[in-house]
Amino acid sequence: MFIIVKIFEIKEIITGALYAVHWTAEADHSMNKMAEQYSDAQFLLAYFEQNKKKLDFFRTDVQSAVLKTINEANELIQQILELAENSSASKKPDLDSLFVQLHKEGAFTHHRYYTDFKAVGRRGEAPWIRIYAVKCDYNLYFITGYGIKLVKQMQDDPLLIIELEKLERASRYLKQEGYL
């Protein structure tokens, strides 16, 4: 099982708007890792072979799942690249349109309802890629991780439970540092 130790560093993705957390137990920051893994057919093939049963719900096979994931991930990183390219000191990207609240409406009693966010691919049916982030201010986000959500609730997938844990730890760290 993957062990999260602590935040190693915070890397800039879009100046003054988007940052990514690099965890000590991971080789790179979350944005780089997401882009690399979700554009790698070999990595995804192994992932979906392991999670083959979960694909039954989506009525799809492993190979189609790989293709769908690569397309979805590409769409997300192209969106972020466009935002980065079109941003300047005077014109900030609109990240508030990219990220949506992670906890469903009505779950505002959740203690991180106003800080836990996710970015989801907009095109295609039932997008399953998620980028998780902590919102620290308007248009200011910290990417803590990512995942492929093939289950109804994040709690149903061990890898997504880790993502919830990362959100929790990042929130705590960002609070300590005065960002939250």
Partner: protein
């Protein structure tokens, strides 16, 4: 959105603090390289992945290792890894090499029956029917299909005549 209470720093202070943490020389933008590569190869991105998956399937079926395959193809294991990841702009020559070594079909080019085209192209305004053996990349199975094209301009007919 409700304003987050007890914020220690203002937005400007937060950004100033983040600027201090992120020196330009420490930039690590691999995601950007991936995004730009994807953009540059947008039309073929899916093809690279489908080919990679078909190769992976053949390797599994034939029970051969990637090292062994790299040797047979006379390419480096690193080059093979890039192809298997779907992150390599493949040349037709490389694709044919894979087809030979693994005895599979990855892509096919439409073949025309010159006689049929020449016959129809004699007409000023005509419909050209030609048969082609189309081989879908994904399944590797043969599929027979009939392609119909309507040619109305004499220049197009000339083009077909040249081919025929």
């Amino acid at each position: 959105m409700r304003r987050i209470k007890n914020m220690a720093l203002t937005r400007e202070e937060k950004i100033a603090k983040l600027k201090q943490l992120n020196k330009p020389e420490d930039k690590n933008d691999k995601w950007r390289e991936i995004a730009q590569w994807n953009r540059a190869h947008a039309e073929s991105l899916e093809d690279f992945v489908v080919i990679a998956l078909r190769i992976a399937e053949a390797i599994k079926e034939q029970n051969i290792s990637q090292t062994m395959l790299a040797e047979r193809l006379s390419i480096t294991p690193q080059a093979l890894t890039r192809i298997m990841k779907g992150r390599q702009n493949l040349t037709l020559q490389t694709i044919r090499k894979f087809e030979q070594v693994l005895d599979i079909c990855l892509i096919s080019v439409h073949t025309r029956e010159p006689g049929t085209i020449r016959h129809h192209a004699r007409l000023q305004h005509t419909e050209i029917n030609y048969k082609s053996d189309e081989m879908p990349v994904f399944s590797g199975k043969m599929k027979f299909s009939l392609i119909t094209e309507t040619v109305s301009k004499p220049s197009s007919i000339k083009k077909y005549l040249r081919i025929a």
